[in-house]
């Protein structure tokens, strides 16, 4: 079974530029998550999708971050414009269903450096 795919693996941009990350979840997984992991911290949920609808985006900085999951499969997370504090690893995860006990499967992440 193929895992969660993310691209690119690394991205370096200057502040005020825009950037986009792509995620392809495990086939058949209805739920998709985007997390931000700042160095030395645990992952923080940015947005959670159930199929192509948003379940939770309470911690997404909506003035600069946006995400979409067209057709309920792959997803794109965008930052525009980027700030220095956006430097982090952006993790995508997916799960088969959306229940409190579901197991999330993570991709390798995209490491973003904002200069």
């Amino acid at each position: 079974e193929a895992g969660v795919a993310q691209s690119p693996r690394y991205k370096i941009i200057e502040k005020r530029q825009s950037v986009a990350f792509w995620c392809n979840p495990i086939s058949g997984h209805a739920t998709l998550y985007w997390y931000q992991q700042i160095l030395g911290q645990g992952p923080k949920l940015l947005i959670q999708f159930q199929n192509n609808g948003v379940v939770d985006d309470s911690q997404l900085p909506k003035d600069r971050f946006s995400a979409e999951r067209l057709k309920g499969v792959d997803s794109t997370l965008k930052i525009q414009p980027a700030k220095l504090e956006d430097s982090a690893v952006y993790l995508c995860a997916s799960s088969l269903v959306v229940t409190a006990g579901d197991i999330q499967y993570f991709g390798a992440g995209t490491r973003l450096s904002v200069l």
Partner: protein, 114 residues
């Protein structure tokens, strides 16, 4: 609000010795608790979870965790550590009945010394 605390940033243990990685939580309601492991330049991998039932949960690679409701803890344990267990370990919590936000702790770096 829900939260997780991992009081130790770093745990060092000799190979062959037992290891413990500590986790305490705070939720309003019954907790669902998880342990994930992260190797360098890789995503998080699921180790084990507690939902209900037996307080001692067994997971992958010989790891186990004990749920203690009175102490609001969910410590990760392994009887005999391997050098290959060296990694970053995260505890996470969700509230029973809620499919929303999984809250992670800040992580504990485990180093097993040969």
């Amino acid at each position: 609000a829900q939260s997780v605390a991992q009081p130790e940033d770093q745990v060092n243990v000799a190979e062959g010795n037992p290891l413990t990685v500590k986790c305490t939580y705070s939720v309003s309601g019954n907790p669902y608790l998880f342990w994930y492991v992260q190797y360098p330049n890789r995503g998080l991998q699921f180790l084990l979870k507690y939902i209900t039932g037996d307080n001692l949960v067994k997971g992958s690679y010989g790891f186990e965790a004990e749920f203690n409701k009175s102490q609001t803890s969910f410590h990760l344990k392994k009887p005999s550590a391997l050098v290959s267990d060296s990694a970053l370990y995260f505890c996470a919590v969700r509230v029973e009945g809620s499919a929303r936000q999984l809250t992670f702790g800040s992580g504990t770096q485990l180093t097993v010394l040969p």
